[in-house]
Symmetry: C2
Subunit: 201 residues, 2 copies
DNA sequence: CTCATTATGTATCCAGTGGATACATTTGCG
DNA sequence: CGCAAATGTATCCACTGGATACATAATGAG
């Protein structure tokens, strides 16, 4: 049963993974919302009810995608672990601007009541822990102090990002919005110095 | 035609205002989303299609509510205009924690793709202007510097609030979340000192 | 005052959505 | 082999926002 073969068989074989990939692909291509279960199933050549064998309901699918999103964010931050707080925050920014759909699902789904249950804890904790490591300057600050700094920085960046997306904060282009957010983070004094790995925009 | 009289008449008389009030009442009572057009119309004793005489579509209703929300926020800030930046930010916080449903509609509707069009500009600008006045310390800072401070403060507060609502930031109670946000704002140095008009929680 | 015009509601339809139940087909294991 | 569990399908349902056609009430011109 080669899953890559053009399968005409009654059983799909890898429907669950295929569904998650298809959904993530939609988000990666600029989709803000998930497609309907019917459309998603249609793409996979399967009846919409087939998905219910793998996810309890639509929220189940959502939750798995959110978990994957946080894992990816953690991975991205781990890549930049050497660059300290500035690197961590730049990773946040990159993620949010490159995967807006996914980022939105991760962080504004619960408050939008699309998710009844809390977002997946372990993956979120992983992200927070990575951030705390990045912000720890090894000079014996208390865990609480570090945690406060992490949330302040994340809050500032996330808040400005959302204000931009909501239309309250106007910017001529996404890149300029990103620059603005980076600048505010910089003069907040929360990070030693933000690596601006970009040419002039 | 007394609008307060128990109307059995074919014509409602003040349907538009009644619809907006009913929707706002739902939000005030803890509703996160608007009720369906049918439920809303049902409450008003009217067929769901009647609402379409007053709003182009559901988004039309939403947009008017968002506009009202920003007006109310502006009014609340104006009340505290004497207390400077700290007062303005406390007004933000109060509004967000007392009207979570409305606040969410105002600020995370657009990014949730429930609103295709930008949120109403004039009302938003009023809020920004009030905030800028509050942050202006009259020592000749540039408009841009003040604006940056306003957005930093608003971004920080809004971001932490959203992180809390999304479940990333855990707090035992809403009041503790509010305290945490106020504390982060305070040690950001963005406001001179936050009036903590509350007893210990 | 009358009557046509316009504003406002109603009745009924439609497509799309998430979800439920009952049935069909495989797969795989004793 | 043969039967049970896993996986899909067919078909139904309630509900939503929206469209069209028709009914009724308010209003202003003559």
């Amino acid at each position: 049963m080669d899953p890559t073969a053009p399968k005409q068989s009654y059983h799909h074989g890898t429907l669950k993974t295929a569904a998650l990939s298809a959904a993530l692909a939609h988000l990666a291509q600029g989709g803000e919302d998930l497609p309907s279960l019917r459309d998603l199933a249609g793409e996979l050549g399967v009846s919409h009810r087939a998905l219910y064998r793998h996810f309890a309901d639509k929220e189940g699918l959502l939750r798995e995608i959110v978990a994957i999103g946080f894992s990816r964010l953690a991975a991205l931050m781990a890549e930049h672990a050497d660059k300290g707080a500035a690197g961590a925050m730049e990773a946040f920014l990159d993620f949010a601007f490159e995967q807006p759909g996914l980022y939105r699902l991760m962080l504004s789904l619960r408050s939008t009541n699309l998710l009844a249950e809390p977002i997946p804890g372990p993956q979120v904790r992983a992200v927070i822990n990575l951030a705390m490591q990045a912000f720890d300057q090894g000079i014996g600050q208390s865990d609480e102090a570090i945690r406060n700094q992490v949330f302040s920085a994340w809050g500032l960046v996330h808040g400005l990002y959302e204000l931009w997306r909501s239309g309250v904060l106007r910017a001529a282009s996404p890149n300029l919005a990103k620059d603005f957010i980076r600048a505010r983070l910089l003069d907040s004094g929360l990070v030693a110095g933000v690596t601006s790995h970009q040419a002039m925009t």
